[in-house]
Assembly symmetry: C2
Homo-oligomer: 339 residues x 2
């Protein structure tokens, strides 16, 4: 199984991308990589980080898709960009099972849909990052921004795709699904979520019910379903709040000599805290509902994040996630809920 | 100026409510209170906490509206409840300028609309709690759950009401307004926020533009505008994440002896951190757009939170917030934006 990695378009391209690939190589002796981007630069980076060049194929693609341009235009026009070449390789080559890009989110999503294609029956592919929880488990949030205007049937599919993802990745047989809402009671919600609630209730999945965003990170759920606007708000406010608390903590430490001394004793504890909250170790956000496995890495990914994301792509591809999603979506026909 | 306080319906009723009132009395020599609820119990609590009974009028109302019942039914049927009596007093008495209730949110909101009434021209009153930020300032989030299905014109009014609130409460002449969206770029958003963006741009207010939830608590905004579903998600995920980080920090401390020692030195720093993040000191959530001042306190309010909320009600009432909101809404007619 080969994985294609778009080496450009990220904040730390090409260095962190190639370094992350080399790290992944070391832990995975069977890993074969295809890298797209500036061949000369990539070759030099592989050497720099001591990568095994015999397991890396480089496809020269000098253009770069940036965050500043129109995603659809970029996909159409920059045919020789690292992203478009990676998408084409993923689409056309049977030996390539998955792809990682840490470039422009919009371009990766449009490219995935237009160049690779949706799985049969999928209405809207969705971005589904993992979030760390208070009990050490991870929860998958679908959708976190690919679809900002949703119909009920989209969210129902998000739930099934999330279930399939968590089962494939973590072997959780019946992932606990929560619907992001304004209260836990069955009748709480807006027009969209009330309809989704009824439909999810009718499906043979482990639907726990409505969930308040307050409980998103308790570890009581495996999959959280939301329209992309709400999911994005939830995800980003989680990140923003964690940063704010850490800043306030730092301020509090710096404001007192006694606290500064205390902080020295707590160095390892702070390190643990930072690690527990580190999104980098969780990989990237899979784009569920595409014919092949695609993961969107953080634009600011470091080598550790890239390594984690490559492992994630490999696991999704080896577990045959697209086929599992197709299988899971059949529950809709059976339930007649997606008429 | 008198303030009516619904003493029942909260988790810590009647004790924390009366204690909070007494604390507020002590700092505000001119404060006159009307309390609604079980007269005998209230009288005994006032004595217990050393309140000045000469400045407290008690209106006996033995019924209690709970969180478990239908808000509209409760408002209609429990005529002798502490909440309904408080609302009637607020509506009918000119000497009463504001009200605090920490009971059922749904019942307080329905009651405010049906018993007290919307300000002329207000389409949807909105809940607007303050959140603490990383730089010590506060940001007002409108709406955080009163309206889960919104039209663009609702959010435009939320912005103006938020502006009026922050000006009245903190003397900020031109509050910085952000629209909660999925990115900071002008074109980002869903159908609703894109339309709201255009309308806010056309108004003579300090509209900064789209804001990602990641930056909600940086202190760069005074007013955040969102539909109630999104605002609720933002608010609650903020609370949930802060709790999770504190729990992970605690776990990290308990996992090492050195960290435990360090934590002793950091006691005051942790105390400061807890204080900086404490919602209790920020009062409750005002319900903006009602003919008179109404604040909804947290259901789990302690005496400190009640005291803060009473001060907040007093400031809003003395600053004549309802009249200011009416004034601010005139900008809509001038701009022709609310056709």
């Amino acid at each position: 199984m080969k994985i294609v990695v778009d080496i450009y378009g990220a904040d730390n391209s090409p260095g962190a991308l190639v370094e992350g690939c080399v790290r992944a190589q070391k832990g995975m002796p069977a890993l074969e990589l295809v890298m797209t981007g500036n061949e000369v630069e990539i070759r030099s980076e592989i050497k720099k980080y001591g990568g095994d060049a015999s397991r890396i194929e480089i496809v020269d693609a000098p253009e770069v898709v940036t965050n500043d341009e129109s995603p659809t235009m970029a996909i159409r026009q920059k045919k020789n960009s690292s992203l478009v070449r990676a998408l084409e390789i993923l689409k056309t080559r049977d030996d390539v099972g998955g792809m990682l890009s840490s470039g422009s989110t919009g371009a990766v999503l449009s490219g995935a849909i237009f160049k690779v294609g949706r799985l049969d029956g999928v209405l809207r592919p969705a971005l589904a990052p993992l979030l760390p929880t208070a009990n050490g488990s991870n929860v998958c949030l679908v959708d976190c921004g690919a679809n900002v205007d949703c119909r009920p049937e989209f969210l129902v599919q998000f739930a099934l795709m999330g279930v399939s993802y968590m089962r494939t990745m973590y072997g959780i047989e019946n992932p606990r699904v929560g619907l992001v809402s304004v209260g836990v009671e069955d009748h709480k919600g807006n027009e969209l979520t009330k309809e989704v609630f009824t439909r999810l209730k009718a499906l043979p999945i482990n639907f726990v019910g409505n969930m308040e965003a307050r409980y998103a990170l308790t570890g009581d759920y495996d999959v959280l379903v939301a329209d992309g606007f709400v999911g994005n708000t939830l995800l980003k406010s989680t990140e923003g709040t964690a940063s704010m608390v850490m800043k306030l903590l730092k301020d509090a430490i710096l404001s007192s000599t006694s606290a500064k001394i205390g902080a020295l004793f707590m160095k390892s504890a702070f390190k643990k805290l930072k690690h527990d909250m580190d999104y980098n170790t969780l990989g990237g956000a899979p784009f569920l509902g595409i014919e092949k496995v695609i993961v969107k890495g953080h634009g600011s990914s470091n080598a550790v994040a890239v390594e984690a994301a490559i492992k994630q792509v490999a696991k999704m591809a080896e577990g045959n996630l697209p086929a599992n999603i197709l299988q899971e979506l059949k529950k809709l026909e059976a339930a007649g809920a997606n008429a």
